[in-house]
Symmetry: C2
Subunit: 344 residues, 2 copies
C-alpha cells in the first residue's frame, strides 16, 4: 500500500476536484458507464434513465474531464500549439489569426498559444514538446530550427507547419512571399517614371523577417528595369525620420517604398516638414492599406496584402495531421496589389 500523496485533497471551494469516479458513485454506476455516457460512445448502449442519472450527477458535482488524463490514456492529444509572437500585430493579421483559431476549433482541435519570448529555439521546442501537441504551427516570428523540428516530431507531433518567409527543413512551409510586396510597390514606382528608389528598412528587431524579403523583392523589380534601389534604415521615431529627411536631397531619390503604411506616414511627414514635396519631388508608397494612410495629405498609396483565409490554413493543418506520409506542401499565401492614391 502506498501512503496518501503529498497533494492537498481540498480545493479553494472546499471540496476536492470531482473525478469521473465521484460522478459514478453519485449516479450509482461504474466509471466505465460514466465515460460511455459523457462521451456518447456509440459502440455501447446505455439506457436512457442511466444516462439521465449520470448527466445529473456530473452536473451537480460540476464535473469537468481532466484533459491530461484523457490524452495520457489516448496516447495523443488534439492540441495545436502555436508559438505566440511578441510583435504587435495589425488588424489584418489579427483577423486572419482569429479565423484560423476558430476554424481549428471547428475541426475539434484545442488551440493553445505558447509564449516563448526569450527562449532559445531548441529550448523552446523542448518546452512545446512537453505538451505533446499533435501539431505545431509557427507563425514565423519565432525561430524554429531543424533541430527543434526533430525534437517535436520525436515527441509525437504529427505535423509541424511554418508560416513564414522561408522554409524550414522537415516542415510544411506556408510561404508568405513578402518579396512580392516589395516587387509590386517598386513596379508601381517604376511605372510612374521613378528611377532611383529608396526602400525603408526598419531597424526595430523582429521585423527583419519581413523587411529583408521586401527589400529583395524591390531589388528584383528594379534590376529588371535597370533602376537603382537604396536601402534606408529607419527607426520608428520622429528623430530618425527627420534625420533621414535632412539628407534626402543628397540621396537624390525620386521614389520610396517605406516598408509599410506606418513607416510611410512617419517618413512622409518628415519629408514634408523638410520642404520636399510629395509626390512631385519624391513618390511615397506604403503597405498594408491601413486607414491611417488616408488621413494624412496627400493620401498614401499602398500595397494591399490579401492573406490566405484562416479556414484554408486550418484545413491544411488538419490534412497534415491526418496524412503524415504526405509530402510537405509549400504554398504561397499572399496576394499583393497596388492601391494608388495621391502620394505616388
Amino acid at each position: 500500500m502506498s501512503q496518501p500523496t503529498e497533494q492537498s485533497p481540498e480545493r479553494s471551494s472546499g471540496r476536492a476536484v470531482p473525478t469521473s469516479a465521484d460522478v459514478a458513485r453519485l449516479a450509482g454506476v461504474s466509471r466505465a458507464t460514466v465515460s460511455y455516457v459523457l462521451n456518447n460512445t456509440s459502440a455501447v448502449r446505455i439506457s436512457e434513465p442511466t444516462r439521465q442519472r449520470v448527466r445529473e450527477a456530473a452536473e451537480e458535482l460540476g464535473y469537468v474531464p481532466h484533459a491530461a488524463a484523457r490524452s495520457l490514456r489516448a496516447g495523443h492529444s488534439r492540441m495545436v500549439l502555436i508559438p505566440s509572437s511578441h510583435v504587435p500585430v495589425g488588424p489584418l493579421y489579427s483577423r486572419f489569426f482569429n479565423d484560423f483559431q476558430w476554424a481549428l476549433r471547428r475541426l475539434d482541435y484545442t488551440v493553445v498559444q505558447y509564449g516563448s519570448v526569450g527562449l532559445e529555439a531548441e529550448e523552446a521546442a523542448r518546452a512545446w514538446a512537453e505538451l505533446r501537441p499533435v501539431a505545431v504551427v509557427s507563425l514565423g516570428e519565432v525561430e524554429l530550427t531543424g533541430q527543434g523540428v526533430e525534437i517535436l516530431k520525436r515527441s509525437g507531433a504529427r505535423a509541424v507547419i511554418t508560416l513564414g518567409t522561408q522554409r524550414v527543413e522537415g516542415t510544411h512551409a506556408l510561404v508568405m512571399d513578402q518579396g512580392r510586396v516589395g516587387e509590386v510597390a517598386t513596379e508601381h514606382l517604376l511605372e510612374t517614371g521613378r528611377r532611383r528608389i529608396g526602400v525603408v528598412v526598419p531597424e526595430e528587431p523582429g521585423l527583419g523577417m519581413f523587411s529583408g524579403p521586401r527589400l529583395d523583392g524591390a531589388r528584383r523589380a528594379a534590376e529588371r528595369a535597370g533602376a537603382t534601389v537604396v536601402p534606408l534604415p529607419l527607426r520608428y521615431e520622429e528623430e530618425s525620420a527627420d534625420a533621414l529627411a535632412a539628407r534626402w536631397r543628397e540621396l537624390g531619390l525620386d521614389g520610396v517604398f517605406a516598408y509599410n503604411d506606418e513607416y510611410a506616414m512617419l517618413l512622409m511627414r518628415s519629408l514634408q516638414d523638410a520642404g520636399i514635396s510629395v509626390p512631385d519631388e519624391t513618390a511615397v508608397v506604403g503597405a498594408d492599406d491601413l486607414l491611417l494612410g488616408r488621413l494624412l495629405r496627400p493620401r498614401l498609396s499602398t500595397v494591399r496584402i490579401d492573406m490566405v483565409l484562416g479556414r484554408e490554413l486550418a484545413e491544411l493543418v488538419d490534412h497534415a495531421v491526418r496524412e503524415t506520409d504526405a509530402p510537405p506542401v509549400s504554398r504561397d499565401l499572399l496576394d499583393s496589389r497596388i492601391v494608388r492614391r495621391e502620394s505616388s
Copy 2:
C-alpha cells in the same frame, strides 16, 4: 491481460516516442533513478557515473518528459492560462503582455494562451478547466462570469485573476480604471475653457469595456464643473467620421475627447476637411500617446497611460496561487496624465 491499444506505436520519425522507461532501459537503471536524475531530486543521492549514463541515454533518445503524465501524477500543474483576446492590441499593451509572460516563466510557470473566440462564457470556462490550470488570468476582453469562475475553482484553479474594468465575483480584480482616462482628458479640456464636450464612443464591438468607463469618467469630470458631455458614436471609417463632422456645428461642441489617438486622428481629419479649425473652434484630445498622433497637424494632445509592470502582475499571480486563503485583492493598475500638444 489486456490487448494492445488502438494507438499507433510508431511516429513520423520512425521510432516510437521515448518514455522514461526507454531511458532507464538504455542506461541500465530503473525508471525511478531516471526521474531522480532528470529532476535533480535532492532527497536522493545518485552516483555521478549513473547520472552521466542517464543523461546521455536521455540525450541520445531525444527524451522529453510528458507534461500531462507529470501533472497527473503530481495532482497539479503550473500552468497559467490566459484567455487570449481577439482585439488587435497596441504596442503599449503588447509590451506589458510580453513582460508579464516572461516574468511568469521566471517564476516557473507555464504560460499558455487559449483562444476562445466565439465561445460562450461558461462553455469557455469549461474548456479552460479541462486543462487544470493552476491560475487563470483574464485580460478583460473575454467574458468571465461568476458561474465560470466557480467552474474553474472547482476544477482546481487556485487563483482567478481578472484584469479589466470591473470586478468579477470570486476573483482577484486588477482594475484598469479606464474612467480616469476620460476624467483626465475632460479635466484638461475644462481647464482650457471648454464647456460643451463631445466624447467619442466607438461602435466597434469589443471596445465597450473601455469606452463605457471612459465616457463615465468624462461625465464625472464635467459634472463637477457644471459642463456638458455629449456621447458621439463613431465607426472607425472615414464615412462615419465625415458624417459626424457634417453635423458638427449643430452639435455646438467646443471640445472632444476622441476615445483614443486613432479615433482622434480620424475625426480631426474629417473636422479639418469640413472647415472646422482645431483647436480654435474645437479642441481634440486622444489617448494612448501613439506616434501617429504627432504626424498630423496640429499635433494631437493625448492622455498617456502608464500600465503596471508585467513583473508586478506576475508576482501578484504567484502570490495568489500560493496563498489561496488571502482575500481577493483589488488594485488599480493605471496611471493617466495629459500630454498637451497643439490640438487643444
